[in-house]
């Protein structure tokens, strides 16, 4: 799960990491007001969007007056950022924070390393080049933290050296790095990154750029993190489905997919790509889902305006297959969708459950494999 930069900075600040004073504005007037209240004579204005990835000044700008701050906010609000603008939502908030003049920019992050089964602290004396939104793979030093012992004192001296700083900076680095690590552990992050750690002329460290990602599986014990989720960052379909605790992955294409397992979704995506169709979203039905809930999910996808077709997978388990087929019946029963609906029944058990569905409506196509389903949908 992602959150906004201002929320990440608030969490880091709670764990003792210095961040510049700042506030969030939702309109230009508020931005001007916040500017007037900030210390210093300049402020950085940053769009707050999950899709926005700062890349050295693009999208974030310096304001030297309240008017400039308002003008920048006006430009940014409503804009869409991200790799795939179709599934990125328009910006609704901007962060204004005091401009901090940094002598140099450092990099510090903690990530969970799946192959080591341990958190790793990444440190570098310069901001490394890396894929937007991903962690750098090179040019950073890696300090592995043994989860049985947590961080050990000597590791802060190693991290200080990796940041290219001398021994006098060990106390400041310890404060920042241990705060970052504790935030990572206590909030159950997958990644916590200070993408730009500024070193000021006064030899102070300030987190100028921060990003945190959380383990979705652990949210059941972190309601405070769950509460940070911004519905404005998701489409209506995604929000409606989340209300019923259904898992939906929004993508940028025009074919909705209702799947029962990650594996079958991967296969479906490959076959859609083969015919030149693009998936617009994947809804997963869990094995214990009722027919009514399956119908609710399928209906949500049928109502999604950007979709032209919906593929529904009927699983192999006979009982589950029965509930999914009832779900399809319920969803199609009371409405004309105008969308092509493809029922993918790849196994004998699934085909047995889906028998008779063809009588319900003429928008249905039956497919015996993912490639047939993709062919029935055709090119987007």
């Amino acid at each position: 799960m992602r959150i906004h930069e201002y929320q990440s900075k608030q969490i880091l600040s709670d764990f003792g990491v210095p961040v510049p004073p700042g506030k969030v504005a939702t309109d230009p007037d508020e931005a001007a007001e916040i500017f007037a209240g900030l210390p210093g004579d300049a402020a950085v204005v940053k769009p707050q969007s999950y899709g926005f990835i700062p890349e050295g000044g693009r999208g974030e700008s310096l304001a030297r007056s309240a008017e400039e701050a308002a003008a920048l906010a006006r430009q940014m609000i409503g804009k869409r950022f991200g790799r795939d603008p179709l599934c990125r939502r328009p910006v609704t908030k901007v962060l204004l924070e005091q401009y901090v003049q940094a002598e140099s920019s450092l990099y510090l992050a903690v990530v969970m390393d799946p192959s080591l089964v341990a958190p790793v602290m990444l440190a570098s004396g310069a901001v490394p080049q890396h894929e937007p939104g991903a962690m750098p793979t090179e040019a950073v030093s890696r300090e592995v933290i043994d989860p049985r012992f947590g961080t050990l004192s000597f590791q802060w001296r190693k991290v200080t050296a990796a940041l290219g700083l001398d021994r006098s900076m060990v106390p400041q680095v310890t404060a920042v790095a241990s705060g970052l690590y504790r935030a990572f552990i206590e909030c159950e992050c997958i990644e916590a990154e200070i993408g730009e750690l500024g070193l000021t002329a006064e030899r102070e460290l300030v987190a100028l750029e921060a990003r945190m990602r959380f383990d979705t599986n652990a949210l059941f014990r972190h309601h405070e993190i769950e509460a940070l989720r911004d519905p404005a960052e998701f489409g209506e379909t995604e929000n409606t489905l989340r209300e019923k605790w259904m898992r939906y992955v929004a993508l940028a294409g025009r074919v909705g997919c209702v799947m029962t397992a990650t594996g079958s979704a991967l296969v479906m995506l490959d076959h859609l790509a083969d015919v030149g169709a693009r998936p617009g979203g994947i809804l997963y039905l869990a094995g214990e889902e009722s027919a009514e809930k399956a119908a609710y999910g399928i209906t949500c996808l049928l109502r999604e305006e950007s979709f032209r077709a919906v593929i529904v997978e009927v699983p192999r388990d006979p009982e589950f297959a029965g509930r999914v087929v009832s779900g399809i019946r319920l969803a199609l029963g009371d409405q004309a969708t105008g969308k092509r609906v493809v029922v993918l029944a790849a196994s004998d058990a699934a085909r047995a459950a889906a028998t008779g569905l063809g009588e319900v409506t003429d928008v249905l196509s039956a497919a015996r494999s993912a490639s047939e389903a993709a062919a029935a949908v055709g090119k987007s």
Partner: protein, 299 residues
């Protein structure tokens, strides 16, 4: 005799959260494995009447001779159940529970290592095999199963399947069975972020398994399990390997998992994995329907 599961396997169940609670036990019994006991982690409701309930796993093992664990507890209790199974001396653990927090899996894996590396009350003679989280388990058709795989699609034979996802493992098995090709064993690892048993851990067992002639690998996005497997195949696998790697069109950086956090794809990841496996001598196929003909040629 089969890898991991056979007719001498006696299963202890930890919690059952699925709607079809007794169904899991029935499937294992149909496959030939006795479900001998159950334990309800965190004092949950006594939900399944299919096996006698014990207060602790240690009691259950002492009284029933259970030698494998099947964990289907709630995500909040799954890690504790896995560690209790280790503590009770069980060396095969299948975790069906999906969406187990990463921090909990880190704890479980460290606990497993601690119990095999150090002699002591938790000392294990066998290496602990932990499949999951989110694993359908392991089956040796005709002999036994620990997990929830669909028994009907399997038939006894000489082809081993190892997959990251139970649905694709079943699809491959069904395709093989349809062509009259039986399976020696089928194992499902995990698509999660933090995984205790990877492809490569299983490949060594299959290479050593006298009942296996051909190995089918079904990979997935994220992680480096397939690269490690490729290196291992090059070095230590003499049996023919057929690999299917779905997910080449998965958009990079997006978590596509059905349940909670799941490894996401990197750009060109599947092409690179396919190339690595191909260089190691594996035959790459591009769909489950191509698996059976490819295997038939190599038997």
């Amino acid at each position: 005799m089969g890898v991991m599961a056979n007719s001498t396997t006696r299963v202890l169940c930890f919690g059952t959260q699925a709607r079809n609670r007794a169904g899991c036990c029935d499937r294992m019994r149909t496959a030939g494995t006795e479900v001998v006991a159950r334990v309800e982690p965190s004092g949950g409701p006594a939900s399944c009447e299919a096996a006698p309930l014990y207060a602790t796993a240690a009691d259950a093992v002492r009284e029933t001779g259970a030698n494998a664990a099947f964990v289907d507890a709630l995500p909040s209790a799954a890690a504790d159940a896995m560690m209790e199974a280790v503590d009770a001396g069980l060396s095969l653990i299948v975790c069906k529970t999906r969406a187990v927090p990463a921090r909990d899996m880190v704890k479980v894996i460290n606990y497993v290592h601690g119990s095999t590396d150090l002699a002591g009350p938790r000392h294990h003679e066998d290496k602990i095999r932990l499949l999951g989280p989110g694993s359908g388990g392991v089956i040796t058709p005709g002999a036994g199963m620990v997990g929830t795989l669909n028994v009907d699609v399997f038939s006894p034979g000489r082809v081993a399947i190892v997959a990251r996802c139970d649905v694709l493992a079943e699809a491959a098995a069904a395709a093989l069975t349809r062509e009259g090709i039986g399976q020696s064993s089928c194992l499902v690892t995990s698509g999660a972020l933090i995984v205790p048993t990877h492809l490569v851990d299983v490949l060594g067992m299959l290479e050593a398994d006298p009942d296996t002639e051909v190995i089918v690998i079904i990979g997935g996005v994220g992680g480096d399990a397939e690269f490690a497997a490729a290196a291992f195949i090059e070095e230590a696998v003499t049996k023919p390997v057929v690999a299917y790697l779905p997910g080449r069109s998965a958009p990079p950086g997006i978590n596509l998992g059905a349940h909670g956090d799941f490894a996401s794809a990197k750009p060109n990841e599947m092409e690179e994995k396919a190339a690595a496996l191909q260089d190691a001598g594996a035959l790459i196929v591009s769909g489950t329907e191509e698996i059976a003909p490819a295997v038939a040629e190599r038997l």
